[in-house]
């Protein structure tokens, strides 16, 4: 059940990435798939983080025009690192989560850009301003998404309890 939910979340993130960015220009630099991988890692641990990062990264690479495996490797390592942070530290307040999302985005960019430069496949002339912008964007969306997902079940339960009984 949990596996199906994780896969559905990843598929939803991919659908959002390929659809929303086509209509809303401002979201084009966000990486919704990375946000979902970090979310799953923080909530379910490093093993789930590794598996989610691998699956999501491979599908994202397959749908992109780059070398298959580079994005997946970056997301796998980020999933593991975020999962470890989630198990070793208390990451329940918005600020620590914001820091984790920022760190995950920077780590992902460093591995991704580093591998492409190392293999001589692409050139990046001063990518760090764009990476910093993407990290902040991912962190804001990630933290807000986290808060909404935590707040939603309680809200629905309160609504159910407050509803009058129909006879």
């Amino acid at each position: 059940m949990k596996l199906a939910a994780s896969l559905a979340t990843i598929a939803g993130a991919l659908a959002l990435q390929t659809t929303l960015t086509a209509y809303v220009r401002e979201t084009s630099s966000l990486d919704f798939v990375l946000i979902v991988v970090v979310y799953l890692s923080l909530t379910s641990g490093p093993t789930t983080g590794v598996l989610a990062g691998t699956a999501a990264g491979l599908i994202q690479d397959a749908l992109s025009s780059g070398v298959m495996g580079i994005g997946a490797l970056a997301k796998t390592i980020v999933g593991f690192a975020a999962g470890r942070v989630g198990t070793q530290f208390i990451v329940t307040a918005p600020l620590p989560r914001f820091v984790v999302f920022i760190g995950a985005s920077l780590l992902h960019a460093a591995i991704f850009i580093g591998l492409y430069v190392l293999l001589g496949l692409r050139q990046f002339s001063n990518p760090w301003p764009a990476v910093a912008g993407q990290a902040v964007g991912n962190a804001v969306v990630g933290v807000v998404g986290f808060q909404v997902l935590e707040w939603l079940p309680g809200f629905l339960q309160r609504r159910r309890m407050g509803r009058p009984i129909r006879r």
């Binding site: 991919l14 659908a15 990435q17 390929t18 659809t19 960015t21 086509a22 209509y23 220009r25 084009s28 630099s29 966000l30 990486d31 798939v33 641990g45 490093p46 093993t47 983080g49 590794v50 598996l51 990062g53 691998t54 491979l58 599908i59 994202q60 690479d61 397959a62 749908l63 992109s64 025009s65 780059g66 070398v67 298959m68 495996g69 580079i70 994005g71 997946a72 490797l73 796998t76 390592i77 593991f80 999962g83 470890r84 991704f112 591998l115 293999l119 496949l121 692409r122 050139q123 990046f124 002339s125 990518p127 764009a130 993407q134």
Partner: protein
């Protein structure tokens, strides 16, 4: 190994995953030919999902525009009629001008450029990763679309087809870091190569420092890459600076607004000199 055991060994899982990824990457980098089956299958399957999502979004848009956005349509009709009359007069002026241009062209005995066979395509999805600037169009090999075919818009050059499937194709935009096109400065005929610079701009490389280039010059395709037909607009020169070597550093503003693309034309006629497709991941 039971599932519970795997969950207790995240380090092992990470190690296995990293090794598999590295093998996968090294296999691709070493061979660099053909399209991986996994990629083609995933793209083919996901393009159908993208088509459905786009269909649903379009349906909602049509419902909105067909029922809720019709207020004030009478006033709009009157304005459009007036606009039509103005345009008809303008059209007559343009026809006269075109006829005069045609006469001059024939006088100069310029060779008439061959008609390009094209097919119109709709963009059904954006790129799956923000690091790569690609879009998915709704035409594929079933519509005679093939790899390395040029993609144009009324404003200028859009990019090239890199991954065709039966009913959809992936198009690499010219602003992608891996994209390139043979280019020429229209005014001075200085040649170079336009490449994606990341972001929304282009860079023109390999233009000698002695060449006559200035801001505002029009950059068009040269046709030497064997992909893009000659003479189509790429953009205008934004800045020209003296580079560290013997070349200019030229930044080009693309003619196409890549964030507002909705429909494009795929050129089905291969340009003269087109032979084999370049290796995967390489610039043409």
């Amino acid at each position: 190994m039971a599932l519970a055991d795997i969950k207790q060994r995240p380090g092992t899982v990470l190690g296995v995953a990293v090794v598999l990824h590295l093998v996968l990457i090294s296999v691709q980098v070493n061979t660099a030919t053909g399209i991986p089956i996994f990629r083609a299958l995933t793209f083919g399957t996901f393009s159908e999902v993208q088509r459905m999502i786009t269909g649903a979004v379009t349906g909602v848009e049509e419902l909105w525009s067909g029922y809720f956005a019709l207020r004030g349509v009478n006033d709009e009709n009157a304005a459009l009629r007036q606009q039509l009359q103005d345009l008809q007069i303008k059209l007559q002026e343009e026809r006269a001008l075109a006829q005069r241009t045609e006469d001059l062209r024939q006088l100069l005995e310029l060779r008439q450029r061959a008609e390009l066979e094209t097919t119109a395509a709709e963009i059904i999805a954006a790129g799956a990763s923000p690091e790569f600037r690609t879009v998915t169009i709704d035409k594929g090999t079933g519509d005679r679309v093939d790899a390395d075919m040029a993609v144009l818009s009324p404003s200028g050059v859009v990019g090239r087809v890199i991954l065709p499937s039966a009913r959809a194709s992936k198009v690499q935009l010219l602003i992608d870091r891996n994209a390139a096109a043979g280019a020429i400065i229209e005014r001075s005929r200085a040649q170079g190569v336009v490449v994606g610079a990341g972001g929304e701009t282009l860079r023109m490389d390999y233009v000698p420092g002695t060449a006559d280039v200035k801001a505002g010059d029009l950059v068009v395709t040269s046709g030497i890459d064997g992909i893009y037909p000659k003479g189509f607009v790429i953009g205008t020169v934004e800045t020209v600076e003296r580079g560290p070597g013997s070349y200019h550093e030229i930044r080009v503003s693309p003619a196409v607004d890549f964030s507002r693309l909705e429909e494009v034309l795929v050129v089905l006629t291969p340009p003269p000199g087109h032979d084999t497709a370049p290796a995967k991941g390489e610039r043409p």
